[in-house]
């Protein structure tokens, strides 16, 4: 593409790979380039999104107002009970707090909010400014914990201390303080914790129901529709089932080390990965219960017999269309590549904000020749790739949407506010329907990319 060289930063050239054009090599896991308009967020964001769905905890952001305001109820993480997580609490630090320190304000804010809401625990998030002024978050938390007799847990999520993945780690460390503090009696030997699902649009309920049908008890949701008391007894589960590349993997590793709880990695997006995830869990429990595998086969069969006929119409319409993927963590990208393939579509671009070397290696293996693989991209690059590949649909989040729409390209929202579940077998149907809804819309006839101008139309018609 003619103007691509002007759009791509030299420093980023090795973070872009075109499969087949050269031997595979892709740089990743770097700090974002200043001035490049990275789509990445910060450490605080990573911690906040992981912990926030814990619905009966108080989530207090210790910092200036922005950090709390921009994360107020931003994800559609549903709760079947309390909804304390949907409120946005902040110490709203002011200039005098920055000068004299914010510890006293934090203490009083915690007492006030705990008295008002009676949470089961409190998470206190550090922000950039707190890291600089040096408030002793841990000390304040210990003090309040003693005074109020509940866990008050500091989350060391200063924004500048890395990217979102560092935030995941801080969140896992915070949750780990609760693990092992609850009573585990009565938990079935066939039991799991669901890690790395945030119950967007009720997704974790779909997965729990599958496990239930397989005869497996779910001990704790981590963290979608999450509860403090469940987190306390997570060590009683036989297996950790971990979704998402980074968000809760550290917790699984910590639990394995301290409690010996094994874990497996799964994904609930797309037919193949969904089914394989359930089978993997079934195989794990096969020795304890020889029927679990057959129950799982039955479940998958039942679900597919409903789903596959439903997909037929979509597949016919979408065959051969071109898709682009840019998501936060790479695990979603794997499943999306497969899901598009099931629909007969071609993935021509795939990238993520925070993928690891292993992630990109896997993406390289599962994609077709010519596919662009990109790490930590930005609007200029993404828009040039969309044009170059003449993409029919782009999958991403809120920040990617206007790039697609401005160019007249279809878009599938794989964001955190989504209202339709995309996980599970029903999620595959919803996904296909959304892709279909966007790709097949008549509006693309009128966008500049596809249409002739009014004058050209008239001329052609005369």
């Amino acid at each position: 593409m003619s103007n691509e060289s002007q759009l791509i930063f030299e420093e980023r050239e090795d973070q872009i790979h075109r499969k087949g054009e050269q031997p595979y090599r892709l740089a990743c896991d770097r700090d974002s380039l200043a001035g490049a308009v990275s789509q990445r967020a910060c450490v605080f964001c990573g911690s906040r999104v992981v912990l926030y769905p814990i619905a009966d905890a108080l989530h207090l952001v210790h910092g200036p107002i922005g950090c709390a305001a921009y994360t107020w109820d931003i994800r559609g993480a549903l709760s079947s009970g309390p909804e304390l997580h949907r409120l946005s609490f902040s110490t709203d630090l002011q200039e005098k707090d920055v000068i004299f320190g914010g510890e006293e304000k934090l203490h009083r804010a915690l007492i006030e909010l705990i008295d008002r809401h009676g949470p089961k625990a409190a998470f206190v998030y550090s922000t950039c400014i707190v890291g600089i002024i040096g408030d002793d978050l841990a000390a304040v938390c210990r003090r309040v914990s003693k005074e109020k007799e509940l866990p008050v847990i500091p989350v060391q999520s200063e924004g500048f201390k890395g990217n979102k993945r560092a935030g995941y780690h801080a969140a896992c460390k915070a949750m780990f303080e609760l693990v092992g503090t609850g009573d585990v009696s009565g938990i079935s030997p066939l039991s799991v914790n669901i890690l790395g699902d945030f119950n967007l649009a009720g997704e974790i309920w779909i997965i729990r129901e599958y496990f239930q049908r397989m005869g497996i008890e779910t001990v704790a949701n981590i963290t979608g529709d999450g509860r403090v008391d469940d987190l306390r007894r997570t060590h009683g589960a036989a297996l950790n089932v971990v979704q998402c590349s980074g968000a809760t993997m550290d917790l699984a590793k910590m639990m394995q080390e301290k409690f010996g709880t094994p874990f497996i990695r799964v994904s609930y997006f797309g037919v193949e990965d969904m089914a394989e995830s359930l089978y993997a869990v079934a195989r794990f429990f096969e020795k304890q219960d020889s029927n679990v595998l057959s129950r799982t086969q039955e479940l998958v069969h039942e679900e597919l017999s409903v789903l596959l006929p439903q997909l037929k119409e979509f597949r016919q319409a979408l065959r051969g269309k071109k898709a682009a993927i840019y998501v936060g963590g790479a695990f979603k990208a794997f499943s999306l590549v497969k899901a598009f393939r099931l629909l007969g579509m071609k993935v021509v671009l795939v990238g993520s904000q925070t993928g690891t070397a292993e992630d990109y290696q896997e993406l390289h293996e599962i994609t077709d020749e010519g596919t662009i693989i990109v790490d930590d991209s930005n609007p200029l690059e993404l828009s040039s790739f969309l044009k170059e590949k003449d993409v029919d649909i782009f999958v991403g989040g809120v920040k990617e949407r206007p790039i697609a729409y401005k160019l007249g390209v279809g878009f599938c929202d794989h964001n955190h506010e989504r209202k339709e579940p995309l996980e599970g077998f029903v999620g595959m149907f919803n996904f296909a329907r959304e892709v279909y809804t966007s790709v097949m819309s008549p509006v693309w006839r009128f966008v500049p990319r596809r249409s002739r101008t009014l004058a050209e139309e008239r001329f052609a018609g005369s």
Binding site: A34, V37, F44, I65, T91, L93, V98, C128, F160, K406
Partner: protein, 460 residues
Amino acid sequence: MSDYSSPYISTTNACKLCKPLGACLAFRGIEGAVPFLHGSQGCATYMRRYIISHFREPMDIASSSLGEKHAVYGGEANLRQGLQNVMKKFGARLVGVATTCLTETIGDDVPMILRTFKREMAEQGTAHQDLPAIVNVATPSYSGTHMEGFHAAVRAVVEQLAECPEDAGRSAAVNLLPGFTSPADVRYLQEIMADCGIPVIVLPDISETLDGPALDDYRKIPDGGTSLAEIARMGCSRATIELGRTLFGHESAGRLLETRFQVPLHRLGVPIGLRESDRLFEVLQLLAGVETPEKHVLERGRLIDAYVDGHKYTFGKGAVIYGEEDLVIGLTSFLLEIGVKPLLCASGGKSGRLREAIEDVNDSILPELPIIREGVDFYEIAEEAESLSPDLLLGHSKGYHLARRFRIPLIRVGFPIHDRFGGQRVLHLGYRGAQELFDRIVNALLDAKQEASPVGYGYM
């Protein structure tokens, strides 16, 4: 009496945003500008996401993406690298550098860094015309709201770029500083000025940059915005109109143009409703030297006609109004005209001017002022509103939970509108904006009544 701030220590569901966000929005209204946040990457990304969800337009904000070592040793290297990248790849004509709480606290001397940067670029042989203008504004998030950030950025642009050479005479142009309004509002203001025959420089002009057409190619920087040439000429304009009653008495951009370049300043409220719009048209009449064009006289007439037609539906209804202070003042002024009783006027902002401004716009229509609260959050707004039994709410999307709780309509205005379509096209200002708001309010009240009716009538 001056401090109406919260009795609480903590903030729950803030009714304000942070200062750098306002600065980014203001910079977005300048042609060829790239907003640039000097801070950690998350700030830029969060604000982009927040702004995109309202405008549904690309909103690129560059960042110096500071990491841990920069927080310790200073962010200068990243700021400079970021500026160079923005120059190289975006072809920016202006880079609007706003600080964040991080860089304000670690003590980066941004003006000095920028001076050195510009000098070195010139020494390295970068031609003057290739070097973008670089405007800097201090926007620590721990002091003030997004509105202070917005006004500070506008002021910084004027302070750092407006000129008036000694030999230049006064131009025919009028500066219009609209504050933070919708793209539709800015377009309408431009139409009014054109109809009145007044050449205008609107700063900032987000009419196209944040509400642009479908395109064949992604623009590195969206088309539209106030041009740098126009900004440079602002010192020579023959007058400035600045909207926003909280700015009265402040060292605003309009005041700066007045003191530095002797540009006469007309300070007005945000023209929402009949009376505040009349005040705008009075000033325009004065500046144009001709009567208000017939088209607008007619629109005014239709508005009053509508006020009469609908007066019984709105009279005596109670409203809670929240959001940015100047918007709240304008909306309150408008509601007072149509017989809606403002019960509570609330803002997360804390200018210290809200009460006085509402007293002024009340102009003895109501014998008693509504409850007026500055510096409050939605927890306090809810607490206050609970006992007031309002019939409707006016404000942005973040008050929806109140509407749901009280089961009353929410008239979505201002920013952000995250749960409805078309926020960038909501018209608030002038006779036309008042007409739209009035229709929406009457219909929302009718709708609520009809929904609650056991009969399901099809006639009003």
